[in-house]
């Protein structure tokens, strides 16, 4: 394999893990509320800025900015669910879908977060969070990787594994799964459905925030960086949109495909790639590349 191709694939895997981290957040929200969180990108952005704030203003050690950011954005997500979404759901008339209203709610949240951040003059310039460890780049054969790149890949896999363990083995995790599968039955066995919903949103938001802190050194922070949510959506779709490992696989596929298109077709076609992939995957295999058979969602 040519060194060009190898580098393209390696960098694609790293970028793919970036998408995967955000995709994980989107999928958790979807499994819990059936909603696509269009504010997911803004949560990533907020995480990045909060990380900067914690590091540069509060002077926290680097490792601590992760829990700090995660906690703050957990609160944002949980609050949004509790205050806004439960209200919307509560006013639903049976037979009428309020999913679109909820989606508009997340769009509103994205404008609120973006608008609030943009008011602060500090955000006018493009910013960068210093990386966790900035050392000499690592060479694997002809391939160049930065420390931050390795950190991202490791984090993506580790977070996914942690989530899998959380959902499979802990009580809260199992309760979340139960609620997403069948809210009524879950309520019947005594699971506080509202709290579960808040928790799911908080968790997804925290994930997005942590992704933001990890990605900020690589992606740069601007109030508009939320547009990356579209790529994360593509990654989630490739993965089937219901499976967490699927997100990581989907992200990696997308990252690598984008680079391959950039190298062998044209750079101009790169921005088309995620949308082509979404359409082709959904046309041929609506359940995504990694989910099982197409399952009917709960009625």
């Amino acid at each position: 394999m040519s060194p060009l191709l190898l580098q393209g694939v390696a960098s694609g895997i790293v970028t793919g893990c970036v998408y995967a981290l955000i995709a994980l957040s989107l999928v958790i929200v979807y499994k819990s509320s059936d909603v696509i969180n269009f504010a997911g990108g803004e949560m990533v952005m907020l995480g990045g800025y909060l990380g900067m704030f914690a590091l540069l203003w509060l002077g926290l050690p680097y490792l601590l900015i992760f829990p700090f950011g995660a906690l703050m954005i957990f609160i944002v997500g949980a609050l949004f669910d509790r205050v806004v979404l439960t209200r919307v759901v509560g006013r639903a008339i049976p037979g009428q879908s309020i999913l679109v209203a909820m989606i508009i709610g997340t769009v509103g949240l994205s404008y609120v977060l973006k608008g609030a951040v943009r008011v602060i003059p500090y955000t006018e310039e493009v910013r960068r969070l210093p990386p966790f460890s900035s050392g000499a780049p690592i060479f694997v054969g002809p391939v160049v990787l930065q420390h931050q790149d390795i950190a991202i890949v490791v984090a993506a896999v580790a977070i996914m594994a942690a989530l899998w363990a959380f959902f499979s083995f802990t009580l809260v995790g199992k309760a979340l799964r139960a609620t997403s599968q069948n809210p009524r039955a879950a309520a019947l066995v005594g699971i506080p459905v509202r709290v579960m919903s808040m928790t799911a949103w908080g968790l997804a938001a925290a994930l997005a925030g942590v992704a933001g802190i990890l990605l900020a050194p690589k992606l740069l922070i601007t109030p508009d960086m939320g547009v990356i949510v579209i790529l994360a959506l593509a990654a989630a779709i490739i993965g089937g949109f219901v499976s967490l490992p699927g997100c990581v696989a989907g992200g990696i596929v997308l990252g690598v495909v984008q680079n391959l298109i950039g190298l062998y077709v044209s750079s101009r076609a790169i921005s088309l790639a995620p949308f082509l992939v979404i359409m082709i995957v959904l046309l041929l295999r609506p359940q995504g590349l990694f989910a099982g058979k197409a399952a009917a969602k709960k009625v």
Binding site: V100, I104, V107, G108, Y111, I237, F275, M279
Partner: protein, 316 residues
């Protein structure tokens, strides 16, 4: 509620027509421009509402058909000299055909996947508008020649205004007939439950595909309307922001209702102008305020403003 709409429901359309011919004589061009803009968006919104509010299909390819309508009408006029009265219907039919083509495979997809697939289609269409330099002018955009309607030269706000009003009135009337017809009933049935609709003998796939096609025709017509009063088109007009704006309009106004769609267009279409003039010293807060309004709208009126009003009135 079903059957041909009574003439009394058509009366407000007469008002619209009168306004269309009288207002250009009274108002400065700025207000006529806003009016033209809103009328074009009204056609767009009604089309999307048919698909989303009436047929319950979460499809967001609408803006792509709007673009196809605009570019097609403009190109037919500029490159081939096709007059507007022929060009716009052709463009709208082209949009409808592509809508039909999308509609059939799209019917296999459920909610979220349908939304995302159609959204991807819209983004891919925008990429095509931006990259097909030879045809669409690419990122530099396309200058639109003033269309000619049977000798009457349109292209400025005052001259376009009455034509837009006529087109909008026709579209609203058509929507009224459509939604109270057998097809309209079929769409509603599918929205409520596809299984039951199918069991009642409705051809679900075909109805859905035709709903796509008709909705696309609306968008194509709106695209033609664009060329009546704008002098320039570029791909940025057909992006994510516009889809979100359209969606917000019909959700805030009220899904599945004609007055709702129109109210939503008027409110959210004028909101930027209102904010701009009232928030002089606080312009940077506009985004935040807009987001809060959206959140507030879905929190307190999830059935939209019209749903709220109609609920109060008691009947529906």
């Amino acid at each position: 509620m079903y059957g041909a709409p009574p003439l009394t429901r058509l009366a407000p359309l007469a008002l619209l027509l009168i306004a269309g011919f009288v207002l250009p004589l009274l108002l400065p061009q700025y207000f006529l421009y806003l009016g033209n803009f809103l009328m074009m968006f009204a056609v767009l919104a009604l089309g999307l509402d048919l698909l989303l509010g009436w047929a319950g299909q979460f499809a967001f390819a609408h803006i792509a058909f709007f673009g196809i309508g605009t570019y097609a009408t403009a190109l037919l006029n500029v490159r081939l000299g096709v007059p507007f009265v022929v060009g716009m219907p052709l463009a709208a039919m082209l949009a409808g055909l592509i809508g039909l083509a999308i509609g059939f495979p799209a019917t296999r997809l459920r909610t979220v996947y349908l939304a995302l697939a159609t959204f991807a289609f819209a983004e891919a269409a925008q990429w095509v508008f931006n990259s097909w330099d030879k045809v669409t002018g690419g990122p530099d955009g396309l200058r639109i020649a003033a269309p000619n309607i049977l000798g009457y030269r349109v292209g400025t706000d005052p001259t376009a205004f009455p034509v837009m009003a006529v087109i909008l009135a026709l579209v609203i009337a058509a929507t009224m007939y459509l939604t109270t017809s057998k097809f309209g009933r079929a769409m509603c049935a599918i929205r409520e439950s596809e299984h039951v609709a199918s069991a009642s003998g409705i051809d679900v796939r075909s109805t859905k595909a035709w709903a796509f096609a008709i909705s696309a025709v609306y968008a194509g017509i709106a695209g033609g309307m664009y060329t009546l009063f704008q002098s320039f088109v570029n791909p940025d007009v057909f992006g994510f922001q516009q889809i979100v704006l359209l969606l917000s309009m019909i959700v805030v106004g009220g899904l599945g209702s004609i007055p709702g769609a129109l109210i939503g267009v008027a409110l959210l279409g004028l909101l930027p102008e209102v904010m701009r003039t009232t928030m002089r010293g606080l312009l940077i807060w506009q985004e935040l305020v807009y987001g809060l309004i959206l959140i507030g709208a879905v929190m307190f009126m999830p059935r939209g403003i019209w749903g709220f009003i109609a609920g109060r009135k008691g009947s529906r």
